[in-house]
């Protein structure tokens, strides 16, 4: 794990969805501060899920806010408080999808065609240092096609991905999500190996 970026400690943390569930339950019982803590806990995750849809920063913030306001308005529809984490990420994906389809039209097939070699992102060149393992990982991620990048980011931040819902939100057949995920991971590993950098 020489190239590790903090993976080990993260795996040992208590599950985020469980913490979210108990905070949500406490808020429903009248503890106003529990909602503040829930917002602090889940906002970063929602940000990454929304940004995975390619929204610019301003629009992404609007979508995250809409997600929270929707929770406040419709929280009674959530029967099991433990489901709140999945409810939030699903809501964020749907709102992001709605916002992105209103703002731009990128066909998935076109994105696949771009896969061959994407030009390197300027920001990646600016921010990443040259020999760093995370820089190499970033370069490999940048070379993935849009669909793979999106799917991997969503799955990375969802603790308990519900493939049926993600499939619907990404307009992909349900049965294809698992294989697509593996195909995307395989591509990423191949890019890393091309770069002379093996898997840990």
């Amino acid at each position: 794990m020489a190239q590790g970026v903090g993976a080990g400690s993260e795996l040992a943390e208590p599950a985020r969805w469980e913490r979210a569930g108990s905070l949500f339950a406490r808020w429903r019982e009248g503890d106003g501060r529990a909602m503040d803590d829930l917002v602090r806990l889940m906002t970063p995750t929602l940000w990454h899920i929304v940004r995975a849809h390619g929204l610019d920063a301003a629009l992404a913030q609007d979508v995250v806010q809409t997600t929270w306001l929707t929770l406040v308005r419709r929280h009674e529809s959530i029967r099991d408080p433990q489901a709140v984490s999945g409810w939030l990420t699903t809501c964020a994906r749907r709102e992001a999808w709605r916002a992105s389809s209103a703002h731009r039209r990128v066909e998935a097939t076109e994105a696949e065609a771009l896969e061959v070699r994407l030009p390197l992102h300027e920001s990646a060149e600016q921010t990443a240092t040259t020999q760093d393992a995370s820089h190499r990982l970033w370069l490999a991620v940048e070379r993935l096609d849009e669909r793979c990048r999106r799917l991997l980011r969503i799955v990375a931040f969802e603790e308990r991905p519900e493939y049926a819902r993600i499939a619907a939100d990404l307009a992909m057949p349900v049965g294809s999500i698992g294989p697509t995920r593996q195909r995307c991971l395989g591509k990423l590993r191949a890019l890393l190996e091309d770069d002379g950098w093996g898997e840990p």
């Binding site: 993260e10 795996l11 917002v39 906002t43 990454h48 929270w68």
Partner: protein
């Protein structure tokens, strides 16, 4: 053998996903104040609560801003929480409303009928609204009391 292979693969995938998470957190982090702004938005949206009506303390009659150079000062309170408001007419005919609240304010808004504006919160309880159209207005705010609980207040209508 199959069992072990699957476990190995899953572990290897989990490690790669953890590294991807760390990467995206570093390369595209959420804005530093995003969570706090979301807390303010949620506090305002939580309509289950009831507003406590603040009383107008100063002046005893509701002020009207008339000329371009006029500033009206209003003070509202409920005995524990106090709000001071300055309403200033601007050159373009709109109003600037700024003020101060002596509590930890989570969110603050001006309402005119169905329309609402969210105020910019500054340090030490200061807040400001730019370009509010003239008209009957109410101030709404959500504060965190010393007891840690949220309290919601609404001012009587005033003429901005």
């Amino acid at each position: 053998m199959g069992r072990t292979m699957i476990d190995e693969d899953e572990r290897s995938d989990a490690v790669l996903f953890a590294r991807l998470r760390a990467l995206w957190r570093a390369e595209d982090p959420e804005p530093a104040d995003l969570a706090e702004r979301m807390i303010a938005a949620v506090a305002m949206e939580d309509v289950a609560r009831e507003y406590t009506l603040l009383a107008l303390l100063e002046p005893s009659m509701l002020a009207v801003v008339r000329g371009e150079t006029d500033t009206a000062t209003l003070q509202f309170g409920d005995g524990r929480t106090n709000v001071l408001l300055h309403v200033t007419a601007t050159e373009d005919g709109s109003r600037r409303i700024d003020g101060w609240v002596d509590a930890e304010a989570l969110a603050i808004r001006i309402a005119q009928g169905d329309r609402e504006w969210t105020g910019a919160m500054e340090a030490r309880g200061r807040f400001a609204f730019d370009a509010i159209p003239p008209g009957l207005s109410k101030l709404r705010l959500v504060v965190r009391g010393v007891d840690g609980e949220q309290h919601e207040f609404q001012s009587p209508q005033f003429e901005a």
